[in-house]
Subunit: 598 residues, 2 copies
C-alpha cells in the first residue's frame, strides 16, 4: 500500500468547474480531448503515480545522488519508472504533434504532472526541466535544431536541462559570465561554470540536451547581452544518433536539505576548450527566450506546492484517523478517540485542505488561460487569456509554494514526534518542498514581478479584469454561501484598494511598491483562492440540490470554501495596512543597526 | 570565526527593561547578583558559547548519534565542551546552594541558556533535561534521594533524563503502561519501554539519572495512577560512588529531521527483570511532580525558538550584507548592491528581528515572574507572579517555537539556493528547530492549556491583570510612539474581546473554545510581544534623548517596535473572528469527507 492516492475526484471537479474541461474538445487542436479520453488518461496516470512511482519516494531520498568521476548515479528504483514513463508516452501529452507529441491541453498535462509530482517530486523535476528545454527550442530554435533534438526530447528518450545560474549570478541572471566563442562552422565554443543545475548530469537517459545562457564576444552588459545555446552532453550525428562526448562535465553535486534524488550539479563547460554549442534564436536574445520557458517552469514549481501539500495532507488525515489519543473534549465519555476528532487537529486539517484546494484552483485556472491563449479562435479572448495567465503566474508560483511549505509543516505537526523521525516520510515532504519558494525565481522575485510588471501590464487591465470578475460573482451569489458573502466582499475591497494604491505609486514610488510586494501577493492569491473555492462551492450546492454526484465530496467542497473565507481570508485582508505602509520604516535602521553587538 | 555572536547588548537591555535586572540583588538570596557580577557572567558565557561551542554545531550534526550494542556515541567535539561546561560550573548558576548551586536568578540562567542554545541546540537540550530532573527531585524527592543524586547532578557530573512517552502515550501521558513492582527493600522493579527519550543514553557523563513515570500495581487508570521513579543508569553506592549497571538499555536511536547530535532513545527498562527504581514523592502523584518540571522545560523549549531564531537572523544579516545582486530599486545607479538594500530583503530581516525580540521579551518576563514567585518577600506579589508565569508559559513555549520555525525558514529564503545546500548551515537551523513546536507538549496542547486552564485560573484574574497592565501602559505612552498608539489599542481591544468571549464559553462551550485556541494563543502572544517591545522603545527613546547608551542600538530598538506594531500586530488582530467562530464548521465534514477518492 502507498501513502498517496491520486485525488481524481477533486482534480476532475476542478478541471470541470475551473478549467472548462467539458469544452476542451471544441477548441481547434484539442479535438481528441473528449471527456472519456481525459478520464482514461487521468485514471491511468493516477495509477502510475500512486501505485508505481509513489513507493519510490522514500528509497530515492535515502539513496540520494552520487558523483563519481563525472558520473552521477541516482537510485536504481528510478530505472523502471523512467522506462515506463517514456515507453507509455507520458511525456508526449501536451507536446507538439509535429515532433511526436499528442497535442493535448496543457491543463490535462498539468493534472498528470500534479500526480507525478506528489508521487516523487525529485524525479518529476527532471521532466519540468526537460520540457522547459523543449519549449524553448520549439519557440526559438532553427528548423535544423528542432529536427535534430526535439523528437527524442518530446518522447523523453533524451533529457534537457536549464543552465542559468553562476556563483555571482542568481536572481540577477544578467551578471553571468559564461562565454561563447563563434567558430568557423557556425557553432560556438562554450566556456564557463554553471551551478545549481537540476538533473544536470545523470544516466537515466542516453543523452542530455543542455540549454545554456552565455555571452558572445562584445555582447552588451547585463541581460541584454545574453544568448542561448544548445549544448548536448553527447554530440548528435547528422543521422540523429548519438555521437562523441561533448566537453561538459559534472564537477560537483550539492548536499541538500531535500529532493535528494534530484542531482543538483555544478557543470563545467569547456575545460578542454572544446565544448560545442549551437545558438538558439538570435544573439543577445537569450534572456527573452528563457522567459518563454521560465513562465512554464514557474507554474510547474508552484504545482510542487500543491502536490506535496496534497500528499502531506493525505498522510496527516490517515494518521489522524488512526492515532488514538485522549478523550473527546466536552464529552462525558472519557475513552480515548482518534485525534481527527480533536478540534485543534480538525482546524489543522481544514487549513491544509483549504490552502491546497485554493492553490490548485489558481494553478488550474492559470494553465487553462494558457491553453486558451494558444488555442482560442477569438483574438481578443486570446489576448485577455494571455494577460490573465501572466498575471496569475507569480501567484501560482509563490502562493502555492508558500502554502506547500506551510502545509507540509502542519503535517509534521499532526504526526507529532512521529513526524520528526524520518521513517514516517512526512519530514521528507517538509525538506523537499522547501526548495520550491527558492528556485525558478524566489518568491520575493515573484512578488516584484507581480507589482513591477504584471500590475502595470496593459495599463492595469488584467488585475482590474480579475477584480471585476470576482465582484460580478459576488453579486450573482444569490442565496448561495450567504454567510460568506460579506467576507468575500471584504476581501475584494482590500484587494482593490491595495492594487490601486500600489498602481498609483508609479515609477517614482517603486520602492514603496516593492516594500509591499510580498504581502500584496499573498492578499491577491488569497482573494482569488477564496473566489475560486466559492465558485466551486456554488456549483457543488447546485449539484447537491439536484442529487448529482457524490454528496460526501460535494459537501466537503462547500465546507472547505466556507472555512477558507471565514478563517483564512481575514488573515490576508489585514495585510492591506502593511502592503500600503511604504518603504520608509524598512530603511530607518542602518546596516550597522542590523548587526548584533557583544 | 564563528557565525554566531552572543547578542549581549540586546540581552542586557532586555534584562534591564523587562526583567528588572538592576533590582535583583535586593531580593533575599540574590544578594550576589550585582550588576557587575551579572555582566561578568554574561560576558564569559557569551565567549564560551560563541567561541568554543558554536563552531561544534555543524560537525555535531554531521556526526549524529550512533548506537552500538546499547552504547550511544555522539561527536567527539562534545567531549571538551562538556568537560569545560561542568568544570567551569555553568550548570550551577541558578541551582540550589544546598546541593552546590550558586542560587543566582533563573533569569540570569535563562540568558546564559539562550546563548548556549544558539551555539548548539542539540547539546543544550541535554542540560534542559538534566536540570528538569534536578528540579523534580529537589521538589519531590526524599532527603535520602536528594543527598544521593543532587550534588553530582547540580555540578553536571551526572546527567538526567525524563521518561514519559510510550508508543501509545504521547500527548496523552495518562495512557502509559510501564510498571513498577514494589520490592521488600522499599525499592521498585521497573518494566516497560519508553520512546523519544532525549539524551536517554550517552557516554558524556559517568552516570545518567532517569526519571521514569510508571504505574504501581492496582493504580487508578489515567493520569491519577502515575508515579515517578528515579532509575539510575548505574546504581549508586551508599558512599555516593558509582556501582553496578542497572537493567536499563538503549535499544534504538531515532533517525530524525534535525538535532542529530541529541540521541533520541528508545529505552528498555527491566528486560532482565532487575531494573531498580526508587519512588520520588508520593505514589500516584507522578503526574503532578512532572508538571513541576514540565513548566520549566516548556519555557526552555520556547527559548530554543529565540536562540535558533537569533542565530538564523545573524546569519541572514551577514549574508545579506555580503551578497551582491542586482541594482537598487528606484535608483539611477544600475550597479549591483548588497541584497540587504533591497526592500523585500529588509522586510524579511525586520520581520525576523521583530519576532525574535518580541519572543525574547516574553520569555525573559516569564522567567523573571518565576524568580519573583520564588523570592519576593510580599506574599501577594508572589501569588500574582506565579499566576503570571503560569499564564505566560504556553505563550513562551508555542509562540517562540512557532516564530523560531518561521524565522529559520526566512533565513533559508534570504540565502536563496545557498540556503538549501547544507554547507551554509542555515538548513540545519531549519531542521533543528522544527522539533520545538512538537516536544514538551505540542503547540496545540499549549493552546489548550492556555484556554482550558490558564484562562480560568483564579477566575480569570491573571489575563485580566495582563490586559489592564497593557492598557495602563498605552494610556501612559504620551508622545512616545504616537503613530503606534492606535495599533496597540486595536491589539488590546481584540485580545480583550477574544479573551472575554472564550472565557464566557465556560465548560459547556469548551469545544468552541478549543477550536479557537491556536489563533488565540497567537493573538495573545503578539499583543504581549508588541507591548513589551513598545515598553523597550519608550525607554530607548528616553535614553536617546538623554544621550545615554549606543544610539545605533537604541534607534534600532525603536524602529523594531514600530515595525512590529505596524506590520505584525495587524496579522494577529484579524484573528479575532477566526478565534470566536466556534467549532461547528470544523465538524461539518465527516471523517470520510477528509479522505480523497480516486
Amino acid at each position: 500500500m502507498t501513502d498517496y492516492k491520486a485525488p481524481l475526484e477533486e482534480i476532475s471537479f476542478v478541471l470541470e468547474t475551473i478549467s472548462s474541461m467539458k469544452e476542451w474538445d471544441k477548441l481547434p487542436g484539442f479535438e481528441d480531448a473528449s471527456e472519456d479520453m481525459v478520464a482514461a488518461i487521468l485514471d491511468e496516470g493516477g495509477k502510475f503515480a500512486s501505485e508505481m512511482i509513489a513507493p519510490t519516494n522514500g528509497p530515492c531520498d535515502l539513496f540520494g545522488a552520487k558523483l563519481n568521476d563525472g558520473v552521477v548515479t541516482v537510485s536504481p528504483e528510478l530505472d523502471p519508472i523512467h522506462k515506463a514513463y517514456v515507453e507509455n508516452g507520458w511525456n508526449t501529452l501536451a507536446n507538439n504533434p509535429e515532433f511526436g507529441g499528442q497535442g493535448l491541453p496543457e491543463t490535462l498535462s498539468l493534472a498528470f504532472a500534479e500526480m507525478l509530482t506528489s508521487a516523487n517530486m525529485a524525479y518529476s523535476l527532471h521532466w519540468i526541466l526537460s520540457n522547459g528545454a523543449v519549449s524553448a527550442i520549439q519557440a526559438h530554435g532553427s528548423d535544423a535544431i528542432k529536427e535534430k533534438y526535439l523528437p527524442k526530447m518530446v518522447s523523453g528518450e533524451w533529457s534537457g536541462s536549464m543552465n542559468l545560474t553562476e556563483p555571482a549570478a542568481g536572481s540577477d541572471v544578467g551578471a553571468l559570465k559564461t562565454k561563447a566563442e563563434p567558430q568557423e562552422d557556425g557553432s560556438y565554443h562554450i566556456k564557463g561554470q554553471k551551478i545549481f543545475i537540476s538533473w544536470g548530469e545523470h544516466e537515466l537517459s542516453e543523452n542530455i540536451i543542455h540549454l545554456v545562457l552565455a555571452r558572445t564576444p562584445g555582447a552588451p552588459e547585463g541581460t541584454r547581452g545574453i544568448s542561448m545555446f544548445v549544448v548536448p552532453k553527447y554530440l548528435v550525428k547528422d543521422d540523429g544518433t548519438r555521437g562523441e562526448r561533448n566537453d561538459v562535465k559534472c564537477v560537483g553535486v550539492e548536499h541538500k536539505l531535500g529532493i535528494h534524488s534530484s542531482p543538483t550539479c555544478v557543470l563545467s563547460f569547456g575545460e578542454k576548450n572544446s565544448c560545442v554549442g549551437y545558438l538558439v534564436g538570435r544573439e543577445n536574445k537569450g534572456m527573452a527566450n528563457m522567459f518563454t520557458m521560465m513562465n512554464h517552469a514557474r507554474i510547474m514549481v508552484g504545482l510542487q506546492g500543491v502536490s506535496i501539500g496534497e500528499r502531506a495532507y493525505q498522510n496527516a488525515v490517515n494518521f489522524a484517523a488512526e492515532r488514538i489519543q485522549s478523550a473527546q473534549i466536552g464529552s462525558k465519555d472519557r475513552s480515548s478517540v482518534a485525534i481527527i476528532n480533536h478540534p485543534d487537529i480538525r482546524r489543522t486539517l481544514m487549513t491544509m485542505r483549504a490552502h491546497i484546494e485554493a492553490a490548485r484552483a489558481i494553478l488550474y485556472r492559470n494553465v487553462w488561460a494558457i491553453d486558451q491563449a494558444h488555442k482560442s479562435t477569438d483574438e481578443e479572448a486570446k489576448r485577455l487569456a494571455l494577460g490573465e495567465s501572466d498575471l496569475l503566474t507569480p501567484l501560482s508560483k509563490a502562493y502555492a509554494t508558500d502554502i506547500g511549505c506551510e502545509v507540509a509543516s502542519m503535517a509534521v505537526q499532526v504526526f507529532g514526534g512521529m513526524g520528526y523521525v524520518e521513517e514516517t516520510g512526512v519530514a521528507q515532504f517538509y525538506r523537499d518542498i522547501r526548495i520550491a519558494p527558492i528556485y525558478e525565481g524566489t518568491n520575493g522575485i515573484q512578488a516584484l514581478d507581480l507589482v513591477g510588471r504584471k500590475l502595470n501590464m496593459d495599463g492595469g487591465e488584467h488585475w482590474k479584469h480579475m477584480i471585476a470578475e470576482i465582484k460580478a460573482f459576488v453579486q450573482s451569489m444569490d442565496r448561495s454561501l450567504s454567510g460568506q458573502k460579506e467576507g468575500l466582499s471584504e476581501g475584494i475591497k482590500a484587494l482593490e484598494s491595495a492594487s490601486e494604491s500600489l498602481f498609483a505609486n508609479g515609477f517614482e514610488g517603486l520602492v514603496d511598491t516593492a516594500a509591499g510586494a510580498t504581502p500584496y501577493l499573498r492578499l491577491f492569491s488569497t482573494v482569488v483562492g477564496a473566489y475560486l473555492l466559492a465558485k466551486q462551492a456554488v456549483i457543488a450546492e447546485r449539484r447537491l440540490a439536484g442529487d448529482e454526484g457524490n454528496p460526501v465530496f460535494l459537501k466537503a467542497k462547500i465546507v472547505t470554501a466556507k472555512f477558507y473565507i471565514e478563517q483564512i481570508l481575514p488573515t490576508a485582508v489585514c495585510l492591506l495596512g502593511p502592503i500600503t505602509a511604504g518603504a520608509d520604516r524598512l530603511y530607518e535602521i542602518e546596516e550597522e543597526g542590523f548587526l548584533r553587538q557583544g
